[in-house]
């Protein structure tokens, strides 16, 4: 029962031209002024502006209001703003309610009469409900001063370094044997053409040696629970069969291993590796792993153990078992990156059929000084190509595959074009749908590459075939239409590069589930707000970095990684977080001890007090989902801000 009589102030926002013309705000304010307990009701151009907020503050004092309603945009936009204003005037921020008359009325309704009617209802609902609001108590709880970074690509590495430099413990988890991700495979980077290794390797080394960073390579996150400031993560360390502490990284084992022809994932299948391997020379850590599937001893259990015989450090350990690590961290940065689109499904481009058709990642390796050809752009037969075709948007902007633009394939294709021209002098034909070069120095790079004599053809390639009209002029024919000239084209070439699109990394969905973050239709993780919270997720304390949130180039990835680290460390620096006020509590005088709530609570946040035979909420664990309140027939369990009286008052007012 309401002891204190509510004194409510209602503020209807014009939001410039966003609400006002469609919704008759004066009428709504006048309507509000006649509602029960409303002491003052006004309309104003921009409630979120300083004068707007001041208006509230002054009224609270002048009319000693004890409840405030603002009718404007979505609470997901400005609830925090107005709660602050209330607090500033000495009013509990929880004695506030917002009515969303922009996203849910003015913006979605043509008929201004209906929009106004809807706005009135929503205001009435807010007023009806706010009368039942109570000041809520929150506690501050310690934030664990460490960060978990999931994914060891450039995004994860940068985020880890930034957070570690800020003085916080960082756990960097990477499922491959080495950190580095995709960028480690690249040779040059657009538009500046500086060598990827030259800028990447130092970062990897820093990450590897940083006293605040604990590298967990060849490991995966298999469990994640808890809440902001206090996440519990379970890490699976896959058996390396090599003792990281003993191994000196001398590499003898790799030379001696009798199994030699395992296709190398890092080399995109262009080269082979032994069963005991370290993916690439600059790998961090250097410690190799034994690939149990191909190891003669582990897989076929033949008598082998050659690696062990030659290992002077005696680091080989065939008895290693999977290990589980349980970490407690204050924040989590998700940087699971992307996977390159596999073009084998697009039979018309002949990938996997014609040896001289390469994916972009394969071409990166072909270019790379440490790659299978030591950086020579040559065909399988060792000869230098005379004519190379580069096909943009393979899989991208394609209803049958990836509907969206990969954001990087135009630029890296131009980079390829440049490299081919520079290294081989070969003729380069680039087939594009639209040339997209938005970014600092990108357009300039495009112009430069054009000037280098690259033929750019606007048109999607129909097919690549090994049927050639003149065998002397290349082993492949690219069939396409030049949509600018309207002419069909049968272009003989020696080599075709497929600039494939980007898709979410394998297993990203699992990570999303564990972290309780959502993904869009294409599988990219959704940020809290597209513009205003690009690295945050709806789950406090979990941040996004890099391509896991959407296709990105390296500069954007690094920027976002630093931003994510910034957000995470800001949270840690604060030292404590305010506990959620909107959580459940159980009235022991009403509870009948039936334990139903214990059964439905997804967080085991309710325990049973055997002495009093009642259920009790652990407010550190409760997330406020209300499973218990909806299950409890006597409503002994109730979520603050969402209790029966408040919700039913809202419904009551809408239908009054």
């Amino acid at each position: 029962m309401n002891k204190e009589i509510p004194r409510i102030g209602v503020y209807v926002c014009h939001c410039g031209m966003n609400i006002a013309p469609r919704v008759d705000v004066e009428q709504v304010a006048e309507f509000a002024s006649r509602l029960d307990h409303v002491v003052v009701a006004r309309d104003y151009k921009f409630m979120c502006s300083n004068p707007g907020q001041e208006l509230i503050v002054e009224d609270i004092k002048a009319h000693n209001l004890n409840r405030v309603v603002v009718a404007s945009c979505s609470p997901r936009m400005h609830e925090a703003t107005f709660r602050k204003a209330c607090r500033k005037a000495g009013l509990s921020p929880y004695n506030f309610q917002m009515a969303n008359i922009r996203e849910q009325a003015s913006w979605v309704t043509d008929d201004s009469r209906l929009a106004t009617a809807k706005a009135k209802d929503l205001v009435a609902a807010a007023v009806g409900r706010v009368a039942f609001h109570r000041p809520l108590q929150t506690r501050r709880v310690e934030v664990n001063k460490s960060v978990l970074v999931i994914g060891g690509g450039i995004a994860g590495i940068q985020a880890a370094i930034s957070a570690a430099d800020a003085g916080y413990k960082v756990y960097l988890v990477e499922r491959e044997p080495s950190i580095g991700g995709h960028m480690a495979k690249f040779d040059k980077t657009f538009p500046t053409l500086d060598c990827a290794a030259c800028i990447m390797t130092p970062k990897m080394v820093i990450a590897g040696q940083h006293e605040n960073i604990e590298l967990l390579t060849y490991s995966e996150v298999v469990g994640l629970e808890g809440f902001v400031g206090n996440y519990k993560a379970r890490i699976l360390k896959k058996p390396r069969y090599v003792d990281e502490d003993k191994c000196t990284g001398c590499g003898t084992c790799m030379e001696k291993c009798p199994t030699r022809r395992v296709p190398s994932g890092f080399e995109e299948g262009l080269a082979f590796r032994p069963a005991i391997y370290s993916p690439f020379p600059q790998a961090v850590p250097k410690t190799p792993v034994i690939d149990a599937e191909h190891c003669r001893l582990l897989a076929k259990n033949k008598r082998c153990g050659v690696c062990a015989k030659f290992c002077e450090a005696d680091a080989i350990d065939f008895d290693q078992k999977p290990q589980y690590l349980d970490l407690t961290v204050g924040a989590v940065i998700v940087a699971t990156g992307f996977a390159a689109f596999d073009p084998s499904s697009m039979v018309q481009y002949g990938y996997g059929i014609y040896p001289e058709v390469y994916t972009s990642l394969q071409f990166e390796r072909l270019n790379n000084a440490t790659g299978p050809t030591a950086g020579q752009i040559v065909m399988k037969n060792g000869q230098v190509p005379r004519k190379v075709a580069i096909i943009h948007c393979v899989g991208s902007r394609d209803r049958n595959h990836l509907p969206y633009c990969s954001r990087v394939c135009c630029m890296y294709s131009l980079k390829f074009a440049h490299l081919v021209r520079e290294k081989t002098g070969a003729e380069v034909w680039s087939f594009y749908i639209d040339m997209r070069s938005p970014g600092k120095l990108y357009e300039e790079f495009y112009n430069r590459v054009q000037a280098e004599g690259v033929h750019a053809v606007r048109g999607k390639v129909a097919m690549v075939t090994d049927i050639v009209d003149d065998p002397g002029r290349g082993s492949l024919t690219v069939v396409a239409e030049n949509t600018l000239t309207g002419r069909n084209l049968r272009l003989p070439v020696d080599m075709v590069i497929l600039s494939v699109g980007l898709q979410p990394a394998e297993g990203a969905g699992e990570v999303a589930r564990m972290a309780g973050i959502s993904a869009d239709g294409d599988g990219w993780f959704t940020e809290l707000h597209a513009k205003l919270a690009p690295v945050n997720t709806p789950t406090a304390g979990i941040f996004l970095a890099g391509c896991c949130q959407g296709p990105k180039d390296i500069p954007d990835t690094v920027a976002q990684a630093m931003a994510a680290a910034g957000q995470a460390t800001a949270l840690l620096a604060a030292g404590t977080v305010e506990t959620r006020a909107e959580i459940s509590s159980i009235d022991p005088d009403i509870c009948s001890g039936c334990k139903s709530c214990l059964q439905v609570c997804p967080y085991n946040a309710i325990y049973f007090d055997e002495g009093r035979q009642v259920a009790v909420v652990n407010d550190a664990l409760c997330q406020g989902c209300g499973s218990c309140s909806a299950t409890c027939p006597s409503s002994a369990a109730a979520v603050a801000q969402f209790n029966d009286s408040q919700v039913m008052a809202e419904i009551d007012a809408i239908l009054a």
Binding site: Q104, A115, S518, P602, C625, S635, L655
Partner: protein, 141 residues
């Protein structure tokens, strides 16, 4: 003055998915019937059967419940609990002559603004065809 029937619909939606989708529909300026009144809850899992009963007894012409797709619930499985509860109360209300179509449960994900608008339009049309809530005219004791 029996003007054209403007149904009033109470939509009990979860903060994370359907409410977000509604905002998205707004920012995308998608138009849908103005008859819907959203009541924002943290999760469909907190929807008490009383809310549904009250809304219909107080004359709502329809009750729409929108939550995250199964598996996507921000609170792991609140939506699954809701689904079962709503089935239960639905079958009860049905025995008292409430058409089952007056109570709808749909999954609308955070990024599904267009779907939100679509479901609203669809539901409002259904209610239009059903006509006003029979209990509306009568005095409810």
């Amino acid at each position: 003055m029996e003007a054209s029937f403007e149904p009033k619909i109470i939509a009990l939606v979860c903060n994370w998915c359907t409410y977000t989708a509604a905002d998205l529909a707004g920012t995308s300026r998608l138009k849908y019937p103005a008859n819907v009144r959203l009541v924002r809850l943290m999760c469909t899992g907190m929807i008490d059967v009383k809310y549904v009963i009250k809304a219909l007894l107080d004359g709502a012409d329809g009750v729409f419940i929108g939550g995250c797709h199964p598996g996507d619930c921000h609170y792991i499985n609140g939506n699954l609990k809701a689904r079962k509860r709503i089935q239960g109360v639905g079958s009860i209300l049905e025995s008292f002559g409430f058409e089952p179509q007056r109570l709808a449960l749909r999954w609308i994900g955070a990024s599904e603004g267009p779907e939100f608008a679509h479901h609203m339009t669809e539901f409002v049309n259904t209610i239009m065809q059903l006509g006003p809530n029979p209990s509306k005219a009568r005095m409810i004791l």
